[in-house]
């Protein structure tokens, strides 16, 4: 069977997804999504924002109260079995059977997709090899480290070579080393195999590094979307921060306000902040203006806006705070 990947067809389309849980909890409040084939799409948001609910609907586990979606060209409500054949799902919880070996887990999973006999055995062995589990293949999964279990989870999601892969918080709970490994594996899947990947995460850096397109979810709605760079540049440039060594802060602010490249100048104690479209180019002008007024700078730092700033702007609250609230709200 050959698979054709068109550059600009969308692998995932969702419109107007609404999902309410008993007790009037509105988990999704009208979510629209388009994910182009062969791209990594990041669904970023704090705990309880609606990321997992969206994934459950797109993977046919759950049904929306309103709206619809198609994955790999098939309608998730009308043709759930066809969708299931086309997708791989790596859930938030470990989906591995702790009493079975890695190989046994893969064989059972493969049989669910219609693989049999020698083909099934060969695929299981290949998966173990590829995810660095060959030497642990016949050990029970309960003896695996967290990183090994997570790799097996991904191997299970890929055994039938799906067109679209869903990764629900793939690195939550992993130590930094295992996280870096997982990131490498996801990048490899996207680059070398051209697989469409929908990834949910509540790590801003993870979304920034892996996803070519992002949607920020907050309280069941998508509040912003675009490439990570687009979203960041909507914040109008970089932040220049100047620590004053001594002297008059007010005079320094007045001096900076005359620099055309710097905007939104604010003074906070002995710290001056300004925004600039291109921070690197603006720094010499800023320093020259200060020097002209006899003001010494102790330190100058330049910061690209982070997704944290993006989140703050669109959701109107800091990510950390929303995350904690969401954690308390979800049982």
């Amino acid at each position: 069977m050959t698979r054709t990947v068109f550059d600009h067809t969308s692998a995932i389309e969702a419109h107007g997804l609404v999902k309410t849980y008993p007790g009037d909890v509105r988990a999704l409040d009208g979510v629209d999504l388009t994910v182009a084939s062969g791209t990594v799409f990041g669904l970023l948001g704090p705990n309880g924002a609606g990321k997992s609910t969206t994934v459950k609907i797109l993977t046919t586990l759950s049904r929306p109260d309103a709206g619809g979606a198609s994955v790999a060209g098939r309608d998730v409500l009308a043709e759930p079995v066809a969708v299931r054949h086309a997708i791989g799902v790596v859930g938030q919880k470990h989906g591995t059977d702790p009493d079975a070996t890695g190989r046994e887990n893969l064989v059972v999973q493969g049989s669910f997709y219609g693989l049999t006999g020698g083909e099934l055995k060969r695929r299981a062995a290949e998966s173990l090899e590829r995810f660095g589990l060959a030497s642990a293949a016949d050990r029970r999964v309960k003896t695996y480290s967290g990183g090994m279990q997570r790799r097996l989870d991904v191997a299970l999601g890929l055994i039938h070579r799906p067109q679209v892969l869903f990764l629900d918080e793939p690195t939550t709970g992993l130590d930094p080393e295992a996280r870096a490994e997982m990131w490498g594996e996801i990048e490899r899947l996207a680059r070398q195999e051209g697989m469409t990947i929908l990834l949910t995460t509540h790590y801003l850096e993870e979304a920034d590094r892996l996803a070519s397109q992002l949607a920020i979810v907050d309280r069941g709605r998508i509040v912003a979307r675009g490439t990570p760079d687009e979203l960041k540049s909507e914040l109008q440039g970089d932040t220049i921060q100047v620590e004053l060594a001594d002297g008059d802060g007010v005079a320094a602010r007045a001096a900076l306000e005359l620099v055309t490249a710097a905007r939104d100048v604010t003074l906070d104690g002995s710290t001056l902040r300004a925004r600039a479209q291109d921070g690197g180019a603006a720094v010499p002008a800023v320093l020259a203006a200060l020097e002209a007024h006899g003001i010494r700078a102790a330190a100058v730092t330049l910061a690209r806006p982070s997704l944290d700033d993006v989140y703050l702007r669109y959701a109107g609250r800091a990510f950390q705070q929303a995350d904690t609230e969401g954690q308390e709200a979800t049982p």
Partner: protein, 257 residues
């Protein structure tokens, strides 16, 4: 072919879980022995009650213990599904195109295999205690058949309940609530002629009693083929109904996700 292979893989999965827990395996093997010896000693005097037909309580008790053990082993089958729901394995399986029936039937097959092993154990032990099977191997095979059917029905019920309730406590409560009344509202331990009339009326509708009557008819004296066929038919009907219920439960579970 694929649904069968999938069912077999699920069966293997649950058999492995059992086989790799030596404590569970030990308990499952010791339990039949304890039950047979304990009930045998406890109710030995029953044969002295005027009106008791036959003279050997071991002969009488063996089919009763087989059936009691079948329904009790089967009742706990749903615990596996609750483990799977909590670990995330259930959601992974349901996101795959696996035939839903295979998930239930695989688990039921594991329960039935366990029950058959336990039944063989009881039958052999009773033989060592001097039991006498009036219809030889054929009668014992019928006893095994009804134990398997009853076990399959209750395993499916347990699975369906587990998927709907999703909570260990609910399943434990339900099984404990149902198990003893089902056993005592049957002729598993006591001849029907010796129990109050209302119990014997209730027993008519009790699947455990269907299995006990058929099993006893097959092992105790000359086989009443009409009775055996009727009870096997009822049990088979119950298996179909409970299998349908358990398979449907996955849909209800998914709607609540």
């Amino acid at each position: 072919m694929t649904p069968l292979l999938q069912t077999w893989q699920v069966t293997l999965r649950y058999l492995r879980v059992i086989a790799r827990q030596p404590a569970f395996l030990g308990i499952a093997l010791v339990q039949p022995i304890i039950w047979l010896l304990l009930f045998g000693a406890l109710f030995k005097a029953v044969t002295q009650i005027p009106g008791f037909q036959g003279s050997s309580y071991v002969d009488y008790l063996t089919p009763g213990v087989v059936v009691m053990l079948a329904v009790s082993s089967a009742g706990w089958t749903g615990m596996g599904f609750i483990e799977d729901i909590n670990s995330g394995v259930m959601d992974r399986m349901l996101a795959s195109p696996v035939w839903r029936g295979a998930l239930n039937l695989g688990s039921v097959a594991q329960a039935v295999i366990q029950i058959l092993v336990q039944t063989v154990l009881i039958v052999l032990l009773a033989l060592a205690l001097g039991a006498h099977y009036a219809n030889g191997l054929g009668g014992v095979l019928i006893l095994m058949l009804v134990a398997a059917l009853l076990g399959a029905a209750f395993a499916s019920l347990s699975n369906g309940l587990a998927v709907l309730a999703r909570q260990r406590e609910t399943l434990i409560g339900a099984v404990t609530l149902v198990l003893l009344p089902l056993t005592f509202l049957s002729s598993a331990l006591m001849q029907e002629s010796l129990v109050p009339g209302w119990i014997s009326t209730v027993a008519t509708f009790n699947p455990v009693n269907w299995a006990v009557e058929a099993g006893r008819s097959a092992t105790l004296s000359e086989i009443d083929w009409g009775l055996v066929a009727g009870r096997v038919g009822l049990l088979a009907g119950l298996v179909l109904l409970s299998t349908w219920f358990a398979t449907r439960a996955f849909g209800t579970y998914q709607r609540s996700l």
